[in-house]
Symmetry: none
Subunit: 258 residues, 2 copies
């Protein structure tokens, strides 16, 4: 009964065909390959390009329509919705890669993620909960193998946003996360300290608190755990900025004295 998720380390869900199609079209829409208000290829064309039946295509389009990304009109075609991408476009446009901006964006992301953790604790279903656990254990596995954990970290947060059943949370996270990823990933100056084992162990410990709160269905605890995690990440980010500053100062001084 309730022990279904107890021992399920790997969930190995069957990726339904329609979901892959949804992902593909989503990517195209986010890349702006089809402008808002414009018509998508017809169902017939899509069946050809993706090599699946019209049933699958229709299911995928229905899902996109449910998320408000497209809008089918009988006899006319399927059209890209206006407002969504413009919103994200506006946001994504004017944040560069400056550190001060990154900190501000991180702060907005904090707001989004705290609330999404709380909602995930309430609204998640079994599959979504399994998805979060899966990402958690993937992080664990990579950590033991000393492989880069960045993607798994992102996947963990993304799974939580997805468990809110509000598609805007995950979209928001995608847009914000692409610009300012707090933890590690491929920032050119965070190669050594940030990737240390104790550092990542600490991350995982914080993740566990979040995971426990969500599986327990405790929204308040989930929010608090996520807040603690992200404020700690914020702090680590600041420290790294400071460390880089010190490093530069030292190198400048060394160059002057030699």
């Amino acid at each position: 009964m309730a022990s279904d998720t107890a021992t399920s380390l790997k969930v190995e869900r069957k990726p339904k065909l329609s979901e892959t199609v949804v992902a593909a079209i989503r990517k195209q829409l986010q890349a702006g390959e089809i402008q808002p208000g414009q018509k998508l290829p017809t169902e017939g064309q899509l069946t050809d390009t993706f090599g699946v039946s019209r049933t699958v295509i229709r299911e995928a389009l229905a899902k996109l329509a449910a998320d408000g990304l497209v809008e089918p009109r009988q006899g006319a075609g399927v059209f890209v919705t206006e407002h969504i991408s413009t919103m994200f476009g506006a946001l994504a446009a004017d944040m560069g890669s400056k550190d001060s901006i990154a900190l501000n964006v991180l702060e907005v992301r904090l707001a989004i993620e705290i609330e999404s953790a709380g909602l995930a604790a309430i609204r998640r279903n079994a599959a979504q909960e399994a998805g979060i656990q899966e990402a958690f254990f993937e992080f664990e596995r990579l950590l033991l193998n000393s492989e880069p954990t960045g993607p798994a970290d992102l996947a963990f947060h993304r799974a939580i946003a997805s468990a809110t059943n509000n598609p805007f949370y995950v979209e928001m996270l995608d847009v914000l996360g692409r610009r300012a990823i707090p933890c590690d990933v491929t920032s050119p100056w965070s190669t050594e300290l940030a990737q240390s084992d104790v550092y990542q162990r600490g991350l995982q410990r914080e993740h566990l608190v979040i995971l426990n709160a969500i599986t327990a269905g405790d929204a308040e605890a989930a929010r608090e755990a996520m807040r603690a995690h992200l404020t700690a990440s914020q702090q680590r980010y600041r420290e790294r900025l400071h460390a880089r500053q010190v490093f530069y100062a030292d190198s400048v001084r060394a160059a002057a004295t030699e």
Copy 2:
């Protein structure tokens, strides 16, 4: 801009068959006729009970699954999700996808504003605190003069976002607020009930709690007050959507009998 539907009083929506089925099943789920974790009737049975093709049934089930209410398992059946938020299911029950999107956006805005209230309590400077107070008393003045308070309400929230000293918060608020404004402003269908004096008095009372918490520098209290305010607004929004639905149903019935 968004007033394209203002002059078209009649519902120009063709209710897709699947949407009818979705509404029906949603109502059943909400009524608790099928307990969480239990299996729904099979697709074949549903085709009989609703008198539509299996295509429609599948589309409806896919939509319910997209909202996280049910969870299909190949070879086993379609099961009701364990942790369903009755709130969400209820509010998305019988409205078009457009309103459902608006509610999702509103939910994101809730996340942003809660955190911004907390930050404003900590980071505000004297001028910003004065700005928040000014907006508050402007609302009061308009209320006494029976003038529309919409802009002042928006200004109050904007002043709080501005007091975070993080420009992204106010920008976020602008982008989100332009799409889905929860309070009142110029929604074409919120002319009477929503503008009542007691309604706006209630808003102002909630505003006061927020203002007090911010001026006291109590971030936790500010967040809680803002959360209370916005969830209450969400509730009011829901009720208005429902009222509109009833209105349309009445007008349709009247048109049929005349």
